[in-house]
Amino acid sequence: MPELQLKQLYDGFRDPETINELARQIKQWASQLTEPVYMMEVCGGHTHTIMKYGLPQLLPDNIHFIHGPGCPVCIMPKERIDQAAALASIDDVILVTLGDMIRVPGSQGSLAQFRAKGCDIRPVYQPLDALKIAQENPTKTVIFFAIGFETSTPMTAVLLEQAEKLGLENLLFHINHVLVPPAIDAVMADQETKVNAFIGPSHVSVITGSKIYQPTVDKYHTPVVISGFEPVDVMQSILAIVKQKVEGRAELENQYQRAVTEQGNLVAQQKVDKFFEVRDSFRWRGLGPIPSSALKLLSEFAHRDAEIRFAARLPVKEIDDHKACQCGDILRGKANPKDCKVFGRGCTPQTPLGSCMVSSEGACNAYYRYAGVE
């Protein structure tokens, strides 16, 4: 294993002087704007950065953030969580999933609640941990509840590849991988949307390349800037967007040149193509069904597909959010977490009504945790 140079991950990207200088330049450029900028940060990771580092406090009034649908936990519809719970309830099944997913409420409760009832549900730090669990429990069926955007799909693919190579028959998959560009289309299809620029998540493009956003730029004439996750990255990207707006341009820009290329990681893309194909449609929480917006296993891997193997036991009833919950509008960029009547009252991270409050990448959670100080 190569030595981890962890310091390189953040060093220099939180420099106060750089951040303040960028804020000054943004203000200067923004004074020339003829209309406000409503930029959507597609990914929950960016929402988190923006709130955690208090960036809105450094920006002028004509720059607004709209939080997008790019949090894999937030967009998971209840019926998929119900399916995970149903799988976990089968005798001799170990359900493995990532982090926050176990806290999201399904219609019968969250996976954490099912775990407390005795189901064997294990949150892991990375998909490959599922391999070890399957090896150590040969008499059980281990099901990986796979979630995430383009970033995490290659890791599921690697897990699958390993399982195939080792002939590990007791490792199955329930695939919920989703795609960013169709979600952007769904947001822009709404006539009322105010969004007029995008901050694109860098980690998605590390895999897919910057090219996946060119159609967005062409179709909607909006700037798209691919951005890293550090405060300096995000401030630089905002500056780039404001400059484009002032100069009347709409282009694809890559702020995160330290890792993103136009083509992306071809090896990872090949691995994904080897195992997955696009689903006809996937129902997104709050956004409804979006065509071609998610992946499923190719038919040659049907033997590993828990959705097929356990089809008879999986609930399929579509279940909408609590009536008071405005996650849908938030994910579509039409409302702000604070517009929701139950925000911080009936709905908190301890007792979430909607998944935007559960996930640490969710907009409501970020607002709750990092709300600016009045």
Binding site: Q5, K7, N20, Q57, P72, A112, G148, T151, P201, S360
Partner: protein, 335 residues
């Protein structure tokens, strides 16, 4: 017949095996006259105000960089006493051991307990051992209960006042990060060790120097975020902290980056926070800095009468936000 190398159910049965286990392992390590008397209960001489506390330790893995469950079980309880301005005196110790546990490992753990006890001068004067069938416990659980003589009465969250300075004894997040890396088998470029340590010696020096301490708390689970939030609520004050003044080592920062955690949410086992009058702060920091493990002690914030019940974190670039309590289980972010 060869001696068993693993704990058997019979070791908890009250018969010869149990007597041998207790005599050979526990009594040898924790030896003192009160324990040796082997009565049903220890007879203690206590005078004046006494602090009394208990804690159970269920850490996994049992061994980590910078300590093990034994060191933790002593330091944890002794620190709870020290934080009340009490000199740790007597401890009880209960073991719940899973059948099959290696006796050598138990010996290592017990000897690190004995070593840690020396640092505060406290003694284990009574104890209990239970062995449970395989699968009923995760290796070994330890409970320790302790009493200590209160040397300085009145140290309490309720004594915190607006205008007080808030001091942090050292860099944060090490225990949480060390446990996480031990669990995940992460190889870091340099060694990350837990901060696990007995705090009584440094507290003793602060008390000896007559530093006017209002409140003191070791930042264990929930990290300094939990301590500061509890303080604001209990004392009905606000606390402002400067992010750039909070020491965090590179390894902990790196682990936080990888998993999406924040250092103030991570557990510590030898790090504490003090609230005290501003005028006394520098002298306190100076005393602490002379002490091993506390050389990065620093004033990190101030108590105020604004935004009562809230901790406000000021960023190095001038923005501010509330520092909330960490939520439930710490789980890594997904994207």
């Amino acid at each position: 017949m060869a001696k068993p190398t693993q704990i058997q159910l019979s070791h908890g049965g009250g018969g010869r095996e149990m007597a041998e286990l207790i005599g050979k392992i526990f009594f040898d390590a924790f030896d003192n006259p009160i324990l040796r008397r082997e009565e049903d209960a220890a007879a203690l001489n206590l005078s004046g105000q006494t602090a009394f506390t208990t804690d159970s330790f269920t850490v996994a893995p049992l061994f980590f960089q910078g300590g093990d469950i034994g060191k933790l079980a002593i330091a944890g309880t002794v620190n709870d006493l020290a934080m009340m301005g009490a000199e740790p005196q007597y401890l009880s110790c209960g073991f719940i051991i899973e059948e099959g546990f290696e006796i050598d490992k138990l010996k290592t753990i017990v000897s690190s307990m004995a070593k840690e006890l020396e640092k505060s001068g406290a003694h284990i004067v009574c104890g209990d051992t239970k062995v449970v069938p395989k699968g009923c416990a995760d290796g070994l659980f330890i409970n320790t209960t302790g009493v200590g003589r209160i040397v300085r009465p009145g140290i309490s969250v309720r004594a915190i006042q607006p205008g007080d300075a808030v001091i942090l004894s050292r860099d944060i997040g090490r225990h949480g990060a060390a446990i996480l890396t031990a669990r995940e088998g992460l190889e870091l470029e340099s060694e990350l060790t837990s901060d696990c340590a007995t705090l009584w010696p440094v507290v003793q020096q602060l008390l000896a120097a007559n530093i006017d301490i209002h409140a003191m708390r070791d930042a264990t689970r929930g990290g300094i975020a939990a301590v500061l939030n509890e303080w604001t609520k209990a004392a009905n004050v606000g606390i402002d902290v400067e992010e750039k003044l909070i020491p965090v080592c590179d390894e902990v920062r790196g682990v936080c980056e990888l998993y999406g955690f924040e250092p103030w949410d991570l557990a510590n086992e030898g790090t504490f926070v003090i609230a005290l009058p501003k005028q006394a702060a520098e002298a306190a920091v100076e005393i602490m800095q002379r002490h091993g493990g506390c050389d990065s002690a620093a004033i990190i914030g101030t108590v105020s009468d604004e935004h009562a019940g809230k901790v406000v974190l000021h960023s190095p670039w001038g923005s501010k936000r509330y520092l909330e309590l960490p939520q439930g289980e710490l789980l890594p972010r997904i994207c």
